[in-house]
C-alpha cells in the first residue's frame, strides 16, 4: 500500500504543480459555463426579444398600439425610423422591426366590420430568428386587436367609423342587412356611458376596458422539484456541461501523459520496481478519479456561490461526481492503453471527447435532439453524467434519482478500465 499511496501522491503533486492544466480544467469551464448560462437565459434580459418599432402612424390609436408593445415585458422595444430599423435588423442587433404605417389604426378600424382593404404592417426580421418572428406576430396581433377593438367599441374614431359604415350600408354601397343590424347595435353600445359598462364589469370582478380582449390567461409553471422561487437555472446545465467536457479533457491529457511516460522510459522504470502493472494502473486511476472529483466539486461550488445554482441532494451530487471521476479515469486509461503515440492519440481522443460531450448533452440539452438520437445517446457515458447532474441541481431531485446515472457511470468506468488493463498486459513495455 505504501507504493500505491506514493504513486497516487506523486500524481496529485504533479497535477497541482501544473498551472496550465489547472487553468484549462478549472478556470475555462467556469468562464464558458458562465457565458453559456448567460446566453441561454441567465441574465436579467431572460427571454426578452429585441424589437425595433417604426411608428409612422401618429394617430392616438396608433400611438396606443406602440405604447402597448413597449409595455409588453417580453419585448424590448426601441423606436427608430425605417432606415435605421432595417439596418439594425440586417446587423442583427434587432431581431424584428415592426413598421406601423401612417393611417394604420383608421384603416384597421374600417376593415374590422366592412370589406374595406386591410392595412399592412411590415415586419422586417433577421432570417436566423424565424421563431422570434412568430412570437412577435402573436404579441402584435394581441396588441392591435385589443387597442383597435377598444377604439371601435368606445372611442371617438370608432363612433365616426361606425357612422360612416352605416351610411355606406344605407346608401346601398354595402348590401348586407345583418351587417346593418350589427352596426346599429354597436352604435347603441358606443352611446352607453363608459361608467355603466364598467359597473357591469365590476359585478363580475375586475373592471375591463371596452373592446376585445384575450378570453383567457395562462399560469406558467416550470415543472421541477427545485424550490419554487428558484425555478430553472440555466447556469446549472451550463456548469454540468462545461464541467464534464473539461474534466474529460483532463482524463484525455492523463492518458496522453501515460503514453509519453511509456515512450520516455519512466513507465519501465516504475515497472522495474517490485510493483505489479495492475497496481501502477490502479494508482493512476485513483489519482485521476480524485482530481476529476475535486475539479467538479470546485466548479459547482463556484456555480452555487456565484450563479445561484442549487444542489438539491448533496449525497447525490457527490455520488455523481465520484462516479464521473471514475469514468474520466477509465477514459484516460483507455487512451493510454490503445494510443500508439502521444501525438496520434491526441487527435483521436480529442475527437472522441467532443463527440461524447456533444451527444451527451453537454452543449445543448438532449431533448432538442430527434427522438432516435435521444435513444441512441443512452450508450454515451457523458449523457448519464449530465442527466445525473441535472437531476440533483435544477430538477431538484434526490439521491434515488441520481442512482441510475451513478450505476451507469460506474459500469462504463469498469468497462473502460478492464479494457485498458487487458491491453496493457498484452503489450506491457
Amino acid at each position: 500500500m505504501n507504493a500505491f499511496f506514493a504513486l497516487v501522491r506523486k500524481d496529485l503533486i504533479l497535477y497541482v504543480a501544473d498551472r496550465r492544466a489547472l487553468l484549462m480544467h478549472l478556470v475555462l469551464p467556469i468562464v464558458i459555463a458562465a457565458f453559456f448560462g448567460s446566453v441561454f437565459g441567465g441574465s436579467a434580459k431572460n427571454g426578452v426579444i429585441d424589437v425595433a418599432l417604426v411608428q409612422q402612424d401618429a394617430s392616438e390609436v396608433g400611438r396606443r398600439i406602440g405604447a402597448g408593445l413597449q409595455a409588453d415585458p417580453n419585448l424590448h422595444v426601441t423606436v427608430m425610423d425605417r432606415a435605421q430599423a432595417a439596418q439594425a435588423v440586417r446587423k442583427g442587433s434587432q431581431a424584428v422591426a415592426v413598421v406601423l404605417p401612417a393611417g394604420f389604426a383608421e384603416a384597421a378600424g374600417s376593415a374590422m366590420f366592412t370589406p374595406a382593404p386591410k392595412p399592412v404592417i411590415e415586419l422586417l426580421y433577421d432570417p436566423s430568428q424565424t421563431a422570434v418572428l412568430a412570437m412577435v406576430k402573436g404579441m402584435l396581433t394581441q396588441q392591435v386587436m385589443s387597442v383597435v377593438s377598444a377604439e371601435m367599441f368606445g372611442g371617438p374614431m370608432g363612433r365616426k367609423l361606425t357612422e360612416r359604415s352605416l351610411q355606406q350600408v344605407d346608401a346601398g354601397t354595402i348590401a348586407d342587412p345583418a351587417l346593418r343590424d350589427m352596426l346599429a347595435a354597436v352604435r347603441t353600445y358606443q352611446a352607453q356611458p363608459q361608467q355603466q359598462t364598467q359597473q357591469i364589469s365590476a359585478n363580475g370582478g375586475e373592471a375591463a376596458p371596452r373592446g376585445l380582449s384575450m378570453p383567457f390567461t395562462t399560469r406558467d409553471q416550470g415543472l421541477s422539484n427545485a424550490p419554487a422561487l428558484q425555478g430553472y437555472n440555466p447556469y446549472a446545465h451550463a456548469f454540468s456541461g462545461m464541467g464534464v467536457q473539461f474534466i474529460l479533457f483532463m482524463g484525455m491529457n492523463m492518458g496522453i501523459a501515460m503514453l509519453a511516460a511509456r515512450r520516455d522510459g519512466i513507465w519501465n522504470r516504475l515497472l522495474a520496481a517490485p510493483v505489479s502493472l495492475a497496481l501502477v494502473v490502479l494508482a493512476r486511476a485513483v489519482s485521476a478519479t480524485i482530481i476529476a472529483f475535486c475539479l467538479l466539486c470546485i466548479v459547482f461550488a463556484v456555480a452555487v456561490l456565484a450563479f445561484g445554482v442549487t444542489v438539491s441532494s448533496v449525497p447525490g451530487f457527490l455520488g455523481i461526481a465520484l462516479c464521473f471521476g471514475a469514468l474520466t479515469a477509465g477514459f484516460g486509461l483507455l487512451v493510454a492503453a490503445f494510443g500508439k503515440t502521444p501525438e496520434a492519440a491526441r487527435g483521436i481522443a480529442m475527437f472522441a471527447t467532443l463527440i461524447m460531450v456533444m451527444l451527451g448533452g453537454a452543449w445543448v440539452p438532449t431533448f432538442v435532439f430527434p427522438a432516435w438520437v435521444q435513444q441512441a445517446t443512452m450508450i454515451v457515458p457523458t449523457r448519464w453524467a449530465i442527466t445525473g447532474l441535472d437531476a440533483v441541481t435544477w430538477r431538484g431531485l434526490g439521491l434515488p434519482a441520481a442512482m441510475p446515472a451513478m450505476a451507469a457511470l460506474l459500469g462504463f468506468a469498469a468497462l473502460f478500465m478492464a479494457l485498458a488493463i487487458w491491453r496493457f498486459q498484452k503489450a506491457p513495455a
Partner: protein, 312 residues
C-alpha cells in the same frame, strides 16, 4: 566469489527479428561486468529481461539461484535499474523523486529519509535536494537517476548507458560514484558502446553484436587475443622504400605494417618490441622524427572480432 547472476541461452524475438540470440554470461558477487556492443546489438533487450520487464522467449535468468520471471517482486527488490532514458519526474523535487522510488521498494518513514540523504550524498546532490530536476544539468539528472536505483541497496545494479549525453566532468563524477559502489563490493552490470568507459570499470567484459555474445572474458584475456597488443607510430623524415618495409615486416615482434606518406603504423606483439624496432629503422638509414606507442583498445578487439567499429 559466488555466482550472483546467471544468464543462460537467452532468446528474445520481435516478430521475425531475433533481438537476442542465445546470450549467456555470469556475474559474480562484487564483480563489474561490462556489456559492450554497438547501438542495436541487443544490450537494452538483455537489460529489460534482467530487470523483469520482458519475458524471454527461451533461456533462463537466475539471481542467487532464483528465477527472474517477469514481475517477480522478491527478485526485483534485489536489483537496481538505471535506465538509458532519464526516469525522473521533472516537476517533482529531487527529494520527492527519491521518496517515490524508495516507496516503490517498500521503504518508508525514517529509514527512507536516511537512505535519501545517503544516496544524495553519494551522488553529491545534497544541496539540490529541494530543486526540481527540470533545473538540473544533464549530468546532475544522470546522477539523480543513479541515486534512485541505489535507495533500496540492491545486490546488483544494472546501468544501461548511464552516461549518454553527459559532459566529461559529469561523466567523471558518475564514475567516481560507480567506483565508490565497486569499493563497497556491489555487483554492477554496465552497458555501453563507449569502450573506454567499460575498460575503466569492468572486471569482465561481454561483447554482444546482433544479439549474440562474441566474447566473454576479462579485459586482459581479451587483449591477449589480439595479434597486435600495441601499435608503434613513427613519423619519418622521408617515406620508407618498399625494400625497407618488406624487411621490417619480417622483423621479430612486428605483426602488421602500414605506411601513410611518411608515417608508419607498426603492429607489435608487445610494447617492449618498440625499442628494437626503432633501433632497426635507424640502422637501416631511416630518420625517425617523432614516435608514439599505444596499447590496443577494446575498439581494436571489437574490430578484430566483427570487422567493423563499435560506432558503425
Amino acid at each position: 566469489m559466488s555466482v550472483l547472476l546467471s544468464v543462460t541461452n537467452l532468446v528474445k524475438s520481435y516478430g521475425t527479428r531475433r533481438a537476442v540470440d542465445g546470450v549467456s554470461f555470469r556475474v559474480l558477487a562484487g564483480q563489474t561486468v561490462g556489456l559492450l556492443g554497438p547501438n542495436g546489438a541487443g544490450k537494452s533487450t538483455v537489460v529489460a529481461m534482467l530487470c523483469g520487464l520482458l519475458r524471454p522467449d527461451a533461456g533462463e535468468i537466475l539471481l542467487d539461484g532464483q528465477p527472474v520471471a517477469a514481475g517477480a517482486a522478491a527478485v526485483k527488490r534485489r536489483i537496481g535499474m538505471v535506465p538509458q532514458d532519464l526516469a525522473l519526474y521533472e516537476d517533482l523535487s529531487a527529494r520527492d523523486n527519491l521518496r517515490l522510488f524508495g516507496a516503490l521498494y517498500g521503504l518508508k518513514g525514517g529509514p527512507l529519509a536516511a537512505r535519501i540523504e545517503h544516496v544524495l550524498g553519494l551522488v553529491n546532490l545534497q544541496d539540490r535536494a529541494r530543486d526540481k530536476p527540470a533545473t538540473f544539468s544533464g549530468g546532475m539528472k544522470r546522477r539523480l537517476n543513479i541515486a534512485a536505483a541505489l535507495l533500496h541497496e540492491p545486490d546488483l545494479l544494472i546501468l544501461d548507458e548511464p552516461t549518454v549525453g553527459v559532459d566529461p566532468q559529469s561523466r567523471n563524477a558518475i564514475f567516481d560514484t560507480l567506483e565508490a559502489l565497486q569499493a563497497q563490493g556491489r555487483a554492477l552490470i554496465y552497458t555501453s558502446h563507449y569502450m573506454e568507459e567499460v575498460e575503466r570499470l569492468a572486471d569482465h567484459i561481454v561483447i554482444i553484436d546482433h544479439g549474440k555474445v562474441l566474447a566473454d572474458d576479462t579485459p586482459a584475456a581479451l587483449h591477449r587475443r589480439l595479434p597486435a597488443r600495441a601499435v608503434l607510430r613513427v613519423d619519418l623524415a622521408e617515406p620508407a622504400a618498399e625494400g625497407v618495409l618488406a624487411a621490417l615486416r619480417a622483423h621479430a615482434g612486428v605483426t602488421a605494417l602500414a605506411q601513410d606518406n611518411a608515417t608508419l603504423d607498426i603492429g607489435l606483439v608487445d610494447n617492449a618490441d618498440a625499442v628494437p624496432v626503432l633501433g632497426w629503422l635507424q640502422q637501416n638509414g631511416q630518420r625517425p622524427l617523432h614516435f608514439s606507442t599505444a596499447r590496443a583498445s577494446l575498439e581494436d578487439i571489437f574490430l578484430n572480432l566483427t570487422g567493423r567499429t563499435l560506432r558503425d
